[in-house]
Structures are given as structure tokens and as C-alpha cells.
């Protein structure tokens, strides 16, 4: 077995182990939750009308059977894995009997669209400004811009969202503050729908971009500041290589590699959604779905979202590990 094959097999083994451990932990933690889905449903069923107490126990038994919550925890665990392998998370308990996978498929595109776009914008902007600030350290404009970014950086993203919501949704009502797209508009690949999605996603995306910019900016500025003092950069400067070329080919390019690792990790986390921003802007994504599942004691839904998130992160890490030796000559397999 050559070194590359051994490396790949080792990483694949780690990949499987991470998923198995993560999903197992998620299963048991979720099932230890004190929120009982049967009682949640019963509460809903009996809250708003007169109920014969004799009927309540009958309802409780029927729901437990219907939700498939009979059997001990280990049996449920085995049953859960047999379904996960078939990409079946079972029916949602709070939206019985709609499959969890249907709920996830409905919500995932919204979150993926919002987060992917805002992560990429944040990545490009943060790294570009960070690289420029690290290289052109005497530029007043970049210093001011950097100061602005550093000021926003410690502000929690929900607070940024709240300010945007009030300023651009109420004081200057330029943008919608709720929902993923205009109501009653045909969903599809057409400009009316796409523009509506962009319009509705603007404020949540802006809050994520503003909140995420600082991290990339600080990281990139530090990396570039270090690289500009490296021998090869100084040598290039002394050799009369144009500044623009030094910046793009010698500095920024080298500094970008670790940033790509961070990018891959962030993209992997997309499927967990962004709970607070989605809640704040009533955005129909995975974060809202997860919160609803937790509040309603919907184990199946929580496990479905969590499992997909674990798998996505593990896949991202695996891809980075497999790609790095190919793109970064400094990484060695041994």
C-alpha cells in the first residue's frame, strides 16, 4: 500500500468514526431531553377544549404507538441507525406523519442559499480588505475601514440583525423583515421569484455579512502582515517585481490557504442553519426547523437536522484533508 492510499484510508476511517460518534451522541442526548413528544401533543390536543379525563390515557397510549416510541432506548437506537442508513429519519412527531426528510428538504434550500451567499460574500470581502490592510499598512482609508470592521466585530450578530430590522425595516422601511420570499408568488427559476428571494434575504444576509466580516479581516491581515516580512517577498521587492504582482502572487495567494480551511468548515456548518438570524427575520430555514423541533420535543426532527449537519461538517473536513496535499506543497503525507 503506498503512502497516498494509506493516507486516504486513514482519513476515511476517521470520517466514519466521527460520523458514528457524533450521531450516536446526538441520539442519546436528544433522547435524554425532558421534553416528551407524546405529552406535547396531548397538551395541544387537550388545551383548547373540555376533555374527559378517562379519554386522556387512551389518547396517550394511541399517540405513543403511532409515534413508534415503544420499546427501550437501545431498540430505538438500532432502529434509528437502520433508518439513517436508508436516509430515512422517520416521521416528524410534531408534524406527524410528514417525513422529517420532507421538512428538511423544504427548509434546506433557504438556509443553504442564505448562508452560502453570505459566507462567500463575507469571505471575499473580509479577506480582500484584510489582505489590503495587511499589505498597504499606511493607507488611511484602509485604516478607517479596518477600524469600522473591528468596531462591529465584537457586536453579537443578533444585535446587528435587530438594529438592521429596526432601521431598514421600520424607520426606513426599505426591506421586508419577515419571510423568505413574497407571498403567493410562483416558486421557480424565474426572475420574479429570484429577485423576491434576494430582496427578502437582504437584511438577514447583511447581518450575517457584517457579523462575519471581522473574523476573516483580522485573520487575513495578520497572515499578510507576517508574509510581507518573509524573505521571498523582500527579495521580490528588491528585485523590482511590481507591487501589484507581489501582492497578488506572492502575498495574498500564500495567505489564502489557511483561510480556505476556515471556509470549508463554515460551509460544512451550513446545514445546522443560523438559528438566531432565522428566528429574528422569520426566515424559513434549518435553524428555525431545529428550534421548533427542540421546543416541540420532536426527536426525529432534531436528530434529522443534527445528523445532516454532522455529516456535512465531516465531509468538509474530509475534503480539506484529501485536497490539501494536492494544493499545498508544504503539506507532506508523512
Amino acid at each position: 500500500m503506498n503512502t497516498l492510499t494509506a493516507y486516504i484510508l486513514k482519513r476515511l476511517g476517521q470520517f466514519v468514526f466521527v460520523i458514528f460518534t457524533g450521531v450516536t451522541l446526538a441520539f442519546f442526548i436528544t433522547n435524554l431531553s425532558p421534553v416528551d413528544p407524546v405529552e406535547q401533543s396531548l397538551t395541544q390536543l387537550t388545551s383548547f377544549g373540555a376533555s374527559d379525563p378517562r379519554a386522556v390515557q387512551m389518547m396517550r397510549d394511541s399517540l405513543a404507538e403511532l409515534y413508534g416510541l415503544q420499546g427501550n432506548l437501545f431498540e430505538q437506537y438500532i432502529n434509528f441507525w437502520s433508518r439513517v442508513i436508508r436516509a430515512d429519519f422517520g416521521p416528524s412527531l410534531s408534524a406527524f406523519p410528514t417525513p422529517v426528510s420532507t421538512l428538511i428538504l423544504n427548509a434546506a434550500p433557504w438556509t443553504v442559499g442564505l448562508l452560502l451567499l453570505s459566507i462567500l460574500i463575507t469571505f471575499v470581502l473580509g479577506n480582500t480588505i484584510g489582505a489590503l490592510a495587511g499589505y498597504f499598512r499606511k493607507s488611511r482609508m484602509l485604516r478607517v475601514l479596518g477600524l469600522g470592521i473591528m468596531t462591529i466585530n465584537p457586536v453579537p450578530h443578533y444585535f446587528i440583525g435587530l438594529i438592521l430590522l429596526i432601521m431598514l425595516g421600520y424607520v426606513f422601511p426599505l426591506f421586508p423583515i419577515s419571510g423568505g420570499a413574497q407571498m403567493n408568488i410562483p416558486t421557480g427559476f424565474n426572475w420574479a421569484f429570484i429577485s423576491s428571494v434576494l430582496y427578502h434575504g437582504f437584511l438577514p444576509a447583511l447581518s450575517l455579512v457584517l457579523a462575519g466580516l471581522g473574523g476573516w479581516f483580522i485573520g487575513m491581515r495578520s497572515l499578510v502582515s507576517n508574509i510581507v516580512t518573509d524573505d521571498h517577498v523582500i527579495y521580490a521587492e528588491l528585485g523590482g517585481v511590481p507591487g501589484r504582482k507581489i501582492f497578488s502572487q506572492y502575498v495574498a495567494r500564500n495567505a489564502m490557504l489557511p483561510q480556505f480551511t476556515g471556509l470549508a468548515m463554515q460551509i460544512g456548518q451550513i446545514f445546522g442553519g443560523t438559528v438566531i438570524v432565522e428566528f429574528l427575520f422569520n426566515y424559513p430555514g434549518m435553524g428555525r426547523l431545529l428550534i421548533q423541533g427542540i421546543y416541540r420535543g420532536d426527536y426525529s426532527l432534531v436528530l434529522g437536522v443534527t445528523t445532516i449537519s454532522i455529516i456535512a461538517v465531516a465531509v468538509s473536513v474530509l475534503l480539506i484533508d484529501l485536497l490539501y496535499p494536492l494544493i499545498d506543497p508544504r503539506v507532506k503525507l508523512e
Binding site: 405529552e39 407571498m183 403567493n184 416541540r296
Partner: protein, 631 residues
């Protein structure tokens, strides 16, 4: 530096272009023909099967606008006006021993697909639910119904397993009830329990137009044949609301903003501060239940301090009374609702017919009520406390607080118990407690401490009330911790895993004096040991032979018998003497209406319907609204 200029330019272009994308609020619907109501996210948006658990959101208009059943009670009404025959042509007819119930149905009602509604639909509904134990009303029908038969197209007879004078309440809507299924649709399904019923066939005046798979909105359209529905038959002309949109609007602050932006005509469950903001900033385009402060609409539920009566330290009425006398309700009202509370001393919410039936007639008894503390006799009731709260908020709200005492009672309630710490001490001593410094010890010599459980942010007003009460108990020698239970609150109450809690176990019809809505569950037959699930309502696990007797006598009375109210008074007096829980106030909800496009909303002057958007009675509001003419 060119790159920087590109960045700035891009940001500028996006900033300018995005608003240019601005669209009409709802695609294709004229705003002035559309009523927009705030609803929660539909948990199962593609489902409209109201008879399956989780199968069909109950708050997206499906239940409110397209389902129908035999009768409705207006929770805000009183007397005969509160009762509404819906699919039934008349109130239920029981035989002498309440073992059969005969229902006459209206003629000329049609489903939205053109099929006639008949007695067969009612029979099919009952039989199908009994045959499928998982269905929502299955258990409740199973324990009561022996057989059900259609005598003819418009007459149904229910033969009951045992005498039951309240059987009809299963088909009587206050918020919800057993809705009638379309036999011609459901009989085609292999399994009615797992059928999505999408698109739903409507039996009421509106039909589904469109909905969002993520559950964020649903649009309902007025049926072309609206006259052929139970509600349409009661109208002289076509309803002016052509479209009803139920939409989610995010957190309470966002709801306020959306209403101020005219994007939500009906909102609900906002914080007092949000209500005050709307009242201040949009006074000319806002209506609400009360014309001025406290604005709120009181739901017929009764937030209370529940005591776990099965715990030794709380099993003695004197201890519970002592804790009641340590509370200054004025602080609770100001701290929880900023004074906008409708306080309640009786164990029934001060709403609808409970005011003329119970609160007004019982004022004299309350005022004369004497409590023996063991060392003295006190008259704890203070009929002027609500008046004092009115005085407290007058400096802030000025002219909104009318001088008329009757109006003030409508706004703030009647009296409550005086805070009397000395009397509380006497009661505790009489119960065998002893004082050690500023703290109390139980008869067993243990420190008398309490944990007061609240739900938390989901019901902020009641969480605030809990904090204030815990503070007052602590200050008076009963150290009390607050426990925020979040989504586990109701489950912990259910199995008795609490000492004291802020919640409600009393809900009423509102528009009818009968108290069986909750009383039946209070019977000692249904009390279980701690750790087991207690049937709903008697979460305080109060056991009392006198109470059992009241419940048993109520069971064999006709629903409309005058003796129903007399038994209600007996229960209320017993509850005062025993103090199994401390009633605090009606569940005031802030539910302002935007009057930019619509007028004629229900109010205390015209209480023709409940105002809550989740309540099925809202159909009566939707069909009564009138256009303002705004474009």
C-alpha cells in the same frame, strides 16, 4: 486602490438596487380586499387533515375559516346571544336521562366541491374517529358513544354509553371542537389517519387559495357559493373580505413593526410595551378590545399561582391562604402587565358571562367573607384594589382611565385580597409552622422554602408575575426560587414535578355559565399519585369531597339549567375557602387591529366574537368586517 473603489461601488450598487426590487406585499391580491392575520408557523403545512394528530395546522385558517361543526359559543357573549347554531338547526335535544342526543341539521349546506352536507357526514365522522384510535377526537368519542345513526338526511341521533348532559360540548366550538369530515372524500382514502386532505374541501365560507410548504403563510378565498354555508346563511350580504391571509411574522417586536407598516391587520400575543407603542404611534389607525388603557383582550383563562396540593407543606389551606396574603396584587399587576391586568379573586376568569353571573353577584359575599387565622378573624377582601391600580396608572395614561367605576371594573377587574403579612403569620402559626428569625420552619422543623416554576419568555407577563410573587414571599420569610422551565413547563406540571407554578387550570366557555369545561377534570376519581400524569386541568391535584359532590350534581343537570350557575357559585365559595390555587388575573392578551383597510372589529362595546386569531370564532369577525375604502 482601484480594488477598493470596486468594492465601494459594488456595495453602493447593491444598496441602491435592492430597494428597487420592492414588490407589492402579496403577489396578485388587492390589499384592500385582503385581511392579513398573524398566525404561527404551520407545523405540517402540506396537511389539512384536522382529524389526525399533527395533521393540519390548527392556526393557519383551516380550522378558523373552512371547517365547521354543530354549534359555537361566543366566549365574549352572554345569554342567548352567546349560543350560535352552526351546522345544527337548533340546540341539542337530550332525553330525560341524557342517554341520547338528537341533532337537527340545517338544510341547504354544501361542501365547497358542490356535494351536499348531510347527516351521513356526521355519522361518518363519529364512526371513523372511533374506529381509528389515533385520531384527535377518537378517545373522547369512544368513551361516550355507543351508536350514532342518521334518521334522515338532516337528523342524527347519538346513543350514549352512559348519561352525559355535556356530550354536545364535543361538537361545540369555543376555540376548537370535533369538526365534521366530508364522507365523500375521506371514504376514498385507505387510511383517514394518514391522508393529507390536500386540497381541503371546505364546509365554511372560505376555501384554500394557496399556501407555503414551509408553513409561513396560507391564503383563503371567499367561496363563490358562500350563501350555502352555515355562516353564509346568517348574512344579509356577501362578506367584504375576499381573501384572508394567515402569515407568520416572527417575534413579538417584528409583529408590532409589521402592523405599524400596515402589513398585518390582526396581531396577537405582543408584550404590553408593544401595545403601548402601537397605541401611541398609530392611535388613529388602531382598534383594540378596550378603547384605551389597558387595551387588552382578556381570554377566558385564569393565570394563577398553582400549588401542588399533594405536597405536605402545601396541603393545608391555611398555608395556601398565608401565601396568598403575602402577595400585593398591585405590585404583581404593575410589574407583570404594567398595570394593564384584569385582576381576579374568584376561581373563574372575569370574562364574558362570568361577570354578570359570578363576579357582580358575589361581591357582597366576598366583602363579608371572614377568615379565621387562629388568632383573629379578618375580612381579607378589598373591593377597591382594582380601583387603586387604576389610580396608579392614571398619571401615565390620564384621560384613558375613565372616572366611571363600572368602566374601571371592566378594565381592571374587581377587588382582591389585601396584603396582610400579620394575618399570614397567624395562619402559619395555626398550621404548626414556627418562625426562626425572619424565616419560617415547617411543623417538622425544616426551613419552609418554595420553588416557583414559570414557563419563561414564551409568556413574559406571567414570568414577570412569578418573579414578583417569589420576591414577596421571600421578603416575608418564605425563601422562594424561580425555576424557568421553558418547554418542559406543562410536562412537569402534568406529573406533579413542581411546588408552586404560574399557569392556568381554569378555562371557561366565557359565553356560558357552565363550568364543566374544567370542573369535570377536578373530580377526585382522576387524581393520580405524584410522578404519574394527571389528566388536564386539575394540575394542582386538589382533592375535596365537597367539590366531588358539586361536580356529580352538575353532571346530571341540563347544560342550560339555572342551577348550573348556582353550582358554579358553590364551587367558587369552596375555592375561596380552600385556596387550592391563587387566582391572579384574566389572561390579558394584547391584540390590536389595524383599521387602515378594515373596520368593525369586535370590542368590549360590540363583543360579537373572540378577537384571537387562533380562535375559530374569528370567522364571525372576518365576515363582519367592512372596507374603509383605502386603496
Amino acid at each position: 486602490m482601484k480594488l477598493l473603489r470596486y468594492i465601494y461601488t459594488t456595495i453602493g450598487v447593491v444598496g441602491l438596487a435592492a430597494p428597487a426590487l420592492a414588490q407589492e406585499f402579496i403577489s396578485g391580491l388587492p390589499r384592500n380586499e385582503t385581511l392579513i392575520i398573524q398566525g404561527p408557523e404551520a407545523q405540517n403545512a402540506d396537511w389539512f387533515n384536522l382529524w389526525a394528530p399533527g395533521g393540519g395546522a390548527q392556526a393557519n385558517g383551516n380550522q378558523q375559516l373552512s371547517a365547521d361543526t354543530l354549534w359555537f359559543i361566543n366566549p365574549e357573549g352572554s345569554g342567548e346571544d352567546a349560543w350560535q347554531n352552526a351546522l345544527a338547526a337548533a340546540p341539542p335535544e337530550y332525553n330525560d336521562d341524557f342517554t341520547t342526543m338528537t341533532v337537527s341539521l340545517k338544510d341547504g349546506i354544501y361542501w365547497s366541491d358542490g356535494q351536499p352536507f348531510t347527516a351521513e357526514d356526521v355519522v361518518y365522522t363519529v364512526e371513523t374517529m372511533i374506529e381509528h384510535p389515533g385520531m384527535n377526537w377518537s378517545a373522547r368519542l369512544s368513551v361516550s358513544v355507543d351508536t350514532v345513526e342518521a334518521i334522515d338526511d338532516h337528523t342524527v341521533v347519538f346513543n350514549l354509553k352512559s348519561p352525559n348532559s355535556r356530550f354536545h360540548t364535543l361538537f361545540t366550538v369555543r376555540w376548537n371542537a370535533a369538526w365534521i369530515m366530508p364522507k365523500h372524500i375521506f371514504s376514498e382514502y385507505d387510511d383517514p389517519l394518514t391522508a393529507s386532505f390536500n386540497p381541503p374541501v371546505s364546509l365554511s365560507a372560505y376555501v384554500l387559495e394557496n399556501y407555503d410548504s414551509n408553513g409561513q403563510w396560507a391564503i383563503w378565498r371567499l367561496r363563490d357559493d358562500w350563501e350555502r354555508t352555515s355562516i353564509g346563511m346568517t348574512l344579509d350580504s356577501a362578506p367584504e373580505v375576499t381573501y384572508v391571509v394567515y402569515r407568520t411574522a416572527g417575534n413579538p417586536d417584528a409583529r408590532v413593526i409589521e402592523q405599524l407598516n400596515n402589513n398585518l391587520d390582526v396581531i396577537n400575543d405582543i408584550a404590553p410595551e408593544g401595545m403601548f407603542t402601537i397605541a401611541r404611534e398609530a392611535a388613529d389607525t388602531t382598534a383594540q378590545w378596550l378603547p384605551g388603557f389597558p387595551f387588552a383582550h382578556p381570554d377566558p383563562t385564569l393565570p394563577s399561582v398553582l400549588f401542588n396540593n399533594q405536597l405536605d407543606k402545601l396541603s393545608d389551606p391555611r398555608v395556601r391562604w398565608a401565601l396568598a396574603l403575602m402577595i400585593d396584587i398591585r405590585s404583581v399587576s404593575m410589574g407583570s402587565y404594567r398595570g394593564a391586568a384584569n385582576i381576579a379573586a374568584l376561581s373563574v376568569p372575569p370574562t364574558g358571562t362570568a361577570i354578570p353571573t359570578y363576579y357582580e353577584p358575589m361581591q357582597e359575599w366576598l366583602t363579608n367573607f371572614e377568615l379565621d387565622t387562629g388568632e383573629s378573624t379578618i375580612q381579607p377582601y378589598n373591593p377597591d384594589i382594582a380601583e387603586q391600580i387604576a389610580e396608579l396608572v392614571t398619571p401615565q395614561w390620564g384621560d384613558s382611565i375613565p372616572p366611571d367605576p363600572d368602566l374601571r371594573r371592566e378594565m381592571f377587574g374587581f377587588g382582591w385580597w389585601n396584603q396582610d403579612v400579620d394575618a399570614a403569620a397567624e395562619l402559619l402559626r395555626a398550621a404548626g409552622f414556627t418562625q426562626s428569625g425572619n424565616s419560617w420552619l415547617t411543623p417538622e422543623g425544616e426551613p419552609f422554602t418554595l420553588t416557583l416554576q414559570v414557563e419563561g419568555d414564551n409568556i413574559p407577563t406571567l414570568a414577570r408575575a412569578g418573579n414578583i410573587i417569589a420576591q414577596q414571599w421571600s421578603m416575608n420569610g418564605v425563601p422562594t426560587n424561580i425555576n424557568v422551565a421553558g418547554p418542559t413547563h406543562s410536562q412537569r406540571l402534568d406529573v406533579g414535578d413542581y411546588e408552586a407554578a404560574i399557569f392556568w387550570t381554569v378555562e371557561t366557555w366565557g359565553g356560558h355559565p357552565d363550568l364543566s369545561f374544567f370542573l369535570e377534570s377536578f373530580h377526585s376519581d382522576f387524581i393520580v399519585p405524584l410522578g404519574e400524569s394527571q389528566p388536564p386541568r386539575n394540575l394542582q391535584r386538589w382533592e375535596n369531597a365537597q367539590l366531588d359532590d358539586i361536580i356529580e350534581r352538575n353532571r346530571v343537570l341540563a347544560f342550560d339549567s339555572p342551577e348550573v350557575a348556582e353550582l358554579g357559585v358553590e364551587y367558587l365559595k369552596l375555592a375561596v375557602e380552600e385556596m387550592p390555587f391563587i387566582p391572579l388575573m384574566a389572561y390579558n392578551k394584547f391584540a390590536p387591529f389595524d383599521t387602515t383597510y378594515w373596520t368593525g372589529y369586535p370590542s368590549i362595546e360590540n363583543p360579537y366574537a373572540a378577537s384571537g386569531p387562533f380562535w375559530s370564532n374569528i370567522r364571525y369577525m372576518v365576515t363582519a368586517l367592512e372596507r374603509t375604502g383605502a386603496e
